[in-house]
Symmetry: C2
Subunit: 653 residues, 2 copies
């Protein structure tokens, strides 16, 4: 389904899209062109911020021979331009803008000029050391960048019809097919950071060219053999061009085992979910059952043992990586915005393989919590790292927590998360539906108009809802063909009572793998899905030591948190009473309009003598409990009212 | 009081001393001479282990011109030799050993040959770059090493009467007095790692030479001005010899403020307590009230807000540093063995300034818990880092916890902690008493014989006790002079009921600042201190978020912990019942003989359906509580039975 077939009408999502169009895209353009000072955070141990300027467009001009100079920035600096172009493409599909189109055409032209005669594109190696092209692929991100390029060019083609975009893309893909593959004389290894596989699959989906799909499959299959191939090449290497790969690095970039044999989520979290996204896509497209099995095992491991309740993944800052089962520390974790975006990609592909609402549940969890938390309400400040527990002073004075910010910084030197969010928000309509030959699945509840002419169907679906403020969703459906159409509406995993009616008559809802399937003949119909959304208490598996004796509050798809602003700092002293009723009400003026949840609880305070209250350890603690009303806000809106403490999991007694 | 005036008779401490004499000293000698393979742990991020050999003795031979070659190892490699010599000195005082004495004489001679004509000793700069001598003192550890040298030479002089040791020491000290000081033409900055001040004060105490004391005081006073002086020198530097100092480094090594103005414990924990040790010593010796005030403020900050219940200090691995008040994470902290040893040094000096048993309480807490935890029961394996909560897999799979080991490694490449422990254990008798003109204070309860002829007194005190197994301590005292003698016996802060008798008659115990003062005329007397030692529950200040709703168990001076070996892994699922009675009993065969504590509690286990028990988050947790007997062992004996989980703070309900 082409994305322009769905048009989001929900005011909140439209506001996000406008922020991207009016704030992020122009801001990022200025950054890419070095016409803006990047607000550098000069904080120690913040390895994410070594560069003071982007230089990304300049790199392309130099590689194209239009300017003189040296490459500057990350080895993967090119991908910033590609992600910008991809977000621009989606934005143009929503809201046409001649000026932006002209700008983007210029970028595509610049990219085409930087493309080498054989199809290769990569400013770092073109400018600095063409002799090392692909020789350090475990770290060089060359295919990672070209993967983002293919995604951008496909999006741009769909948005504008640009032929030049397709020419460049096909030349890149042909070059890769000539260079990598099982045949003798080609390279037998994969990129250290998965992404090219996603790009090739997107190109395959719009061109139908099977060798692109086959190359994506090859890059996945050869992954576990890559380290051996590197060792072999290194042993023959005379010029010091080949770098060795450590066992640790192998787990980091998922080359420690053949991908078919991987059954736990290991290493760098973004890499892992990008790999799985491509693997699930290939599995569907080529019928690779081994890939499908591996995807399901890794999915289970993430969802059952390695995912924060916010849909965040990556339990440690070093390597931005997964660690071990049930290791989910709320205050030191990484939970990169990009990783949750990647989890959304993965979930979407899994839905194509298996119609099970759990995939959409996780997609929605990651989207409404960690992904949206990545951006401030002003659209100009961003989190890389999305903690579940923050004491601002600890992030400042304990260098092992320096990655944990309590307010969103401005644009960042390593600008991966903001443009990733931009492309997600501008394409959120792509995640609402999954279309199959025999059914259309509704995964997300977002007010929107959808029309579909595909696979013998001709239907339109209008969603009317203010979800997640309420759980009422009205579907106005028109089936324009003689053949019946089946709609499967997701019944969220978090739901309690759900009522349904069809064409105004109450019906009993039936469920199959989390979807309510309804069949319609030709004509206009309506379905009302009426889910009760009330605040609920959630508990973690006992094996999660960090969350034991604690509770998290959620309301529908949104996880909630407590902030110092509402509850005073020292949030660890709050206790939510087991027997208290959680209530909710909407506050129009708060944080752009949010449902606030409240519950009765206590705050522990010292009630003893001065000596007891000042001593660090005592046998006779004398504290009392002050009754308090605990106030919760949606997790994705935290950190928008200045620096303060925040907590998702709080003590329950 | 010269240390040989006290002879430890306690079998446990004698066993520790024998382990040092028979295991550590020969082992370390072999390491220093590269005749043993250092068991290298090749673990990532373990910056403490970059070297594969010591080369320390070879460095001296090269610096002395006896051998050819280059310097190898840390810039502070010399200090390993000095700490060995210091431990040897104390050991010789306990147990004479001709062979060891000959070996040590040879080392003193070698050091004397490496001493430069002007008195300087430092193999790194002598061999590699004499032109940079003192030019990078913020990082070069030259005075740190010479401080350890002075400590070792003073100890060796006291143990053996070596005149050569004194010659070398006085030449070093004279050289430093000529080189550093307020006068024009001298250097106006301090070493990045405090220690020279301690060495100079030890030399002052046995020689009475006031300029050594004055130079120690100068190094402390100039500390806060050092960064400015570095900047000044750097601005004039043409040869690139001077390194700049960052604001962060200033806090790290306590040069961010004049020492008199420092009122919180900041930066590298070992550095801070070494600084305070010297500052308190100088305050007493020179009457510097500003120093005394600063010491008291920093002490309060540590003891009231920045010390783990085990007497460990240093809340973060990065910088091995203090962080902020009440930030005491049990599983990521540093709690270096050396830092607790330094805290013992500091406490001992504070006792000289103020007769308050709190100093001895902290000294005992650090000694019986973190310091002794640093060494395995076999005397051959050592912890650098002393966690209060360990899950072995987390240390292996989360690189931010890679410093947290669950079993003690063998000798380490950066060998600071083991020899520091060796010198502490071989000189533990120095911490038992504090001698004043008008009283002798008993700080520690260790079976021992003490005889004192000093300051007009001539007394002997024999302590008979199996403390801390029991709290009964019998003091047999002989006052050999006509004048009365006052003994002040410490009444520990953790005590409950205490009974006392003098010469067999029960008496009422009076207390003054934590000591029970008793006055004796000439003759033989006895005091019985009979403290009830029973297991007790301890609670942390409410501001320590990590310990809220949790309890720690201690028995007398010993903090206890639970281990997986006794209680099964998954220790976070244990709950100690609030109303349960803690009991204790001695187990002869366990861990060299320990008092075991037990209490009734529960273990949380899933009691629901399989689906509920395997899901990561649920609204309907169905767990039940299994009654269990929770078994606690002394914290300092943990990790001696193979790899398993350990916890000090456990949930109480």
């Amino acid at each position: 389904m082409a994305r322009r077939d769905v048009c989001v009408t929900d005011p909140i999502w439209k506001r996000y899209k406008e922020l991207v169009r009016k704030e992020m895209i122009p801001y990022q353009w200025a950054v890419l062109n070095d016409s803006i000072d990047i607000a550098i955070e000069r904080e120690r141990n913040d390895a994410s911020i070594p560069n003071e300027k982007s230089h990304a467009i300049a790199n392309f001009k130099i590689a194209a021979g239009l300017e003189k100079g040296d490459h500057y920035g990350w080895v993967f600096q090119d991908s910033d331009v590609y992600k910008w172009l991809e977000a621009v493409s989606y934005s143009l599909s929503d809201t046409w803008d001649d000026e932006l189109k002209t700008l983007a055409d210029g970028v595509v032209e610049l990219i085409s000029k930087a493309q080498q005669p054989d199809g290769y594109i990569g400013t770092y190696f073109t400018i600095k050391c063409p002799e090392r092209r692909y020789m350090r692929l475990a770290e060089s991100h060359e295919l990672y960048c070209m993967g983002h390029l293919l995604e951008a060019l496909v999006a741009y083609k769909l948005a504008t019809g640009s032929e030049l975009a397709m020419d460049v893309a096909e030349k890149v893909a042909a070059h890769l097919c000539d260079t990598f593959g099982p045949e003798e004389g080609k390279y037998h290894f994969a990129d250290g950071h998965e992404e090219i596989e996603i790009g090739l699959m997107k190109l395959y989906h719009i061109t139908g060219t099977e060798k692109y799909r086959d190359l994506a499959e090859y890059f996945l299959k050869v992954r576990g053999d890559s380290p051996k191939e590197w060792s072999r090449l290194k042993s023959m290497d005379k010029g010091g061009n080949i770098l060795g790969v450590s066992a640790e690095a192998m787990k980091y970039d998922q080359t420690h085992l053949p991908v078919e044999e991987q059954d736990t989520a290991e290493g760098h979290a973004v890499r892992l979910v990008y790999m799985c996204t491509a693997m699930a896509d290939v599995a569907k497209a080529s019928g690779n059952k081994e890939f499908e099995k591996a995807c399901k095992k890794i999915w289970r491991n993430i969802v059952d043992k390695r995912m924060f309740i916010t849909g965040g993944i990556g339990s440690t800052v070093l390597g931005e990586s997964f660690t071990l089962d049930y290791d989910l520390p709320n205050d030191t974790m990484y939970c990169e915005t990009c990783a949750s975006i990647g989890l959304i990609f993965f979930a979407k592909q899994m839905l194509n393989l298996e119609r099970n609402s759990e995939y959409a549940d996780v997609m929605e969890r990651a989207l409404y919590n960690t992904a949206l938390s990545g951006m401030a309400l002003d659209g100009k400040h961003f989190f890389y790292v999305n903690p579940l527990e923050v004491v601002p002073e600890k992030g400042k004075l304990d260098p092992t927590k320096s990655h944990v910010k309590s307010v969103r910084p401005q644009w960042l030197g390593c600008a991966c998360c903001p443009p990733n969010l931009a492309r997600l928000i501008t394409s959120v309509e792509d995640y609402i539906y999954s279309v199959f030959d025999d059914a259309v699945l509704v995964n997300l509840f977002i007010a929107s108009d959808m029309s579909l002419e595909d696979k013998g169907k001709k239907i339109s679906i209008r969603q009317k809802t203010d979800y997640p403020r309420s759980g009422k969703v009205l579907f106005e459906i028109e089936n324009k063909e003689e053949t019946d159409v089946t709609i499967g509406i997701r019944l969220p995993g978090w739901r309690d009572e759900v009522k349904g009616s069809i064409d105004g008559s109450a019906v009993k809802i039936t469920e199959k793998c989390g979807y309510w399937y309804v069949q319609f003949p030709k004509g206009e119909h309506s379905i009302l899905l009426d889910m009760e959304i009330k605040p609920k208490r959630w508990y973690a598996n006992l094996n999660v030591s960090e969350d034991i004796h604690k509770v998290a509050v959620a309301r529908g798809p949104q996880v909630y948190c407590v902030e110092g602003k509402d509850n005073g700092d020292g949030l660890h002293k709050l206790v939510l009473r087991k027997d208290s009723q959680l209530t909710d009400h909407f506050e129009e003026e708060l944080l752009g309009g949010v449902s606030v949840v409240e519950g009765d609880g206590e705050r522990l305070v010292w009630g003893g003598s001065d000596a007891a209250s000042s001593s660090l350890y005592t046998c006779r603690p004398e504290y009392k409990k002050e009754a308090v009303k605990i106030r919760f806000i949606p997790y994705n809106t935290w950190g928008n009212r200045g620096e303060n403490e925040m907590r998702v999991w709080i003590t329950e007694e």
